[in-house]
């Protein structure tokens, strides 16, 4: 066994040391695997970033109520009576002014994407002070909060970055009325950073929504109180709303789009991997052919076929791993942290950042190693079966 390990170590070291003799062909394999890994990681980072932005947004102890069957905030409508009835329900946390409840409007306005200079939907959320208090990680990072009852708005940092004309102090026209940007807010990378916020009363009035809302958020005593609230909602025929935790709502919103990205990314990555595999097989068969006399000489000396097999396989795996490493570094340098926007569940733009993680890099490394393994195993078999008499032939 010790001898076998020594043989394998020697053959692996020889094969790796001889790589410069086949530099261009080896580099082509490394490059092909690097491209596969970089493209796959770009898709995975996109899905991961979108998932983290949207799914990470919701709290477990905040319930969101919408019209029955509404898939997203934009499809919902609630009347004030329903909001009042629900606010009287069980399990809702209270402060000195009563139940902590935020009835909100969610309307769509136009924005111009900086990247493409095209129009896209942006959400303008109308909310009250209670709604802002419910969002504990809200930070005004520039300017100030809007004044209730005015045409002032604050802009999320993601929307500011991706869309034209939302800089502090800029005047905008929505619903035939003028609005002024008075602040920029961040929310720890969450989906709300893609939104514009204004006073609920001003949005209701200027968008002619009367006394209606689209959603209501209710702060719960604890996550378990959601079931009591749901039971209360089911029992009252005037309500019959869809109620779920904010965390579940955003997870549902995220899953469709991130699944789409994943289901596009993996097949594309695997299709490209077949191309890289062909390159790896070609490189390794050439490697075995060009080293045939060396392999046969080792066999003549007494090295076993296993050492020749493992040595060739290891060379292929090293090339693939090197490609994977370069691909991962390229993906990290070019994609990690870049900001993009796409259509979210409410037909509005969600701004998110590509996010690489060790788990994703591991997945890509596994794909690279699979390419290396399959690309090496057949040539390695050929190396192990090479007739020893080849050692006696002329070069």
């Amino acid at each position: 066994m010790g001898s076998l390990i020594s043989q394998i170590n020697a053959v692996v070291a020889m094969n790796v040391k001889s790589l410069p003799q086949r530099a261009w062909m080896s580099a082509a394999t490394v490059f092909a695997v690097a491209i596969v890994v970089a493209v796959l990681l770009a898709f995975l980072a996109m899905a991961n970033g979108f998932q983290a932005t949207v799914a990470g947004t919701g709290a477990r102890d905040v319930a969101i109520a919408m019209r029955q069957g509404a898939q997203a905030e934009v499809n919902s409508v609630l009347m004030k009576e329903q909001v009042d009835l629900l606010s009287a329900g069980p399990g809702i946390a209270k402060n000195e002014t009563g139940p902590i409840v935020s009835a909100e409007l969610y309307v769509i306005v136009d924005g111009i994407k900086k990247a493409s200079d095209t129009k896209a939907n942006l959400p303008l959320r109308g909310l009250s002070e209670a709604g802002m208090k419910m969002r504990g990680d809200l930070k005004i990072i520039e300017g100030r909060m809007f004044q209730p009852g005015t045409n002032e708005l604050i802009v999320g940092v993601g929307a500011l970055k991706e869309f034209e004309g939302f800089e502090l102090g800029r005047e905008l026209t929505f619903a035939r009325s003028r609005w002024t940007v008075v602040g920029v807010f961040s929310m720890d990378g969450k989906v709300a950073e893609s939104e514009l916020w204004a006073d609920i009363g001003s949005v209701q009035s200027l968008f002619q929504r009367g006394n209606s809302f689209q959603t209501v958020r209710l702060k719960l005593d604890d996550p378990a109180a959601l079931e009591q609230l749901k039971a209360y909602n089911e029992a009252d025929p005037r309500l019959k709303l869809d109620i779920k935790s904010e965390a579940d709502y955003f997870a549902d919103q995220a899953s469709g789009m991130s699944d789409l990205i994943m289901y596009l990314g993996w097949p594309l990555g695997i299709a490209m991997a077949f191309g890289a595999l062909a390159g790896a097989l070609n490189t390794m068969y050439t490697s075995v052919a060009s080293r045939a006399r060396e392999i046969a000489t080792l066999r003549a000396i007494g090295f076993g076929g296993t050492a020749a097999f493992v040595g060739t396989l290891a060379e292929s795996m090293v090339l693939a791993l090197l490609g994977g490493l370069i691909g991962a570094i390229a993906a990290f340098l070019f994609f990690d942290g870049i900001t993009a926007s796409t259509l979210g569940g409410s037909f509005t733009q969600v701004v998110f950042s590509f996010k690489l993680s060790p788990a994703l890099i591991w997945q890509a490394a596994v794909l690279a190693l699979i390419i290396g393994f399959i690309g090496g195993v057949f040539p390695a078999w050929r190396a192990a079966r090479l007739p020893v008499v080849v050692a006696f032939r002329a070069a």
Binding site: Q21, G305, A395
Partner: protein, 230 residues
């Protein structure tokens, strides 16, 4: 040790090429005594290299038996033959067959990796082998940094480092000029006379054959002449 190191009994070897069976040997008998230095000569296609391959266990006969040191080897498995070669045979090739990416010392060390010896004992054996062939000062050099004669001396060091009983040489001077060839042949002669190595050398060169104790002439798979050297 038996007196006869090798015994070939009714060995036949044939190949199938383009659906045609080509016979190289038919019922060949041969004995090689321990301590012999035999040159095998003959025209191309006479079976010299095939015989060397059979003796070295890199090829197997179609029929017949090959005994080495009293033990039958023609029926060993591929791995069994590899282990037998590692323990008993040192090969010297016409084109040296050194690993181009390894230094002289690392090339010489290769057979020792099969022995289970520790690093320090391997190092000592490599140094001794290189010293014997006069290349102890070139231990760190790569093959491409050495002349053909020096590379063949490294190959000889590699062949003897694990102290095999048998050395099989395939045209060991075929790629060298006369003076260097003589130098290599003297070294083989020394290994035979002073260290008791049994050497079988295939060569086209009558001058090279003069260094052997005995020359066997092979033609169409049969020994046609035997010459004993003075």
């Amino acid at each position: 040790m038996t007196e006869n190191l090798f015994e070939l009994k009714k060995v036949s070897k044939s190949f199938v090429k383009a659906k045609e069976t080509i016979s190289i040997f038919e019922g060949l008998d041969m004995t090689i005594k321990a301590g012999d230095f035999i040159a095998i000569m003959g025209p191309s296609g006479s079976g010299k290299t095939t015989l060397l391959n059979l003796l070295g266990g890199v090829d197997q006969p179609t029929s017949g038996e090959i005994h080495f040191d009293g033990k039958r080897i023609d029926n060993l498995s591929e791995n069994g033959l590899a282990a037998w070669r590692a323990a008993n045979v040192g090969f010297i090739f016409q084109f040296y067959n050194l690993m181009p990416m390894l230094s002289a010392a690392k090339n010489v060390e290769l057979p020792l990796l099969l022995t289970g010896l520790g690093r320090s004992r391997r190092k000592a054996s490599v140094e001794a082998a290189l010293k014997l062939v006069g290349l102890d000062d070139r231990a760190g050099h790569l093959p491409k940094e050495m002349s053909g004669g020096q590379q063949q001396r490294v190959a000889i060091a590699r062949a003897i480092v694990s102290d095999p009983k048998l050395m099989l040489c395939d045209e060991p001077t075929g790629d060298l000029d006369r003076a260097t060839a003589d130098e290599i042949l003297k070294m083989l002669q020394l290994l035979n006379r002073e260290f008791g190595k049994t050497i079988v050398m295939v060569t086209h060169d009558p001058e090279a054959a003069k260094y052997a104790k005995k020359t066997l002439h092979l033609d169409k798979g049969e020994f046609v002449k035997e010459e004993l050297m003075a």
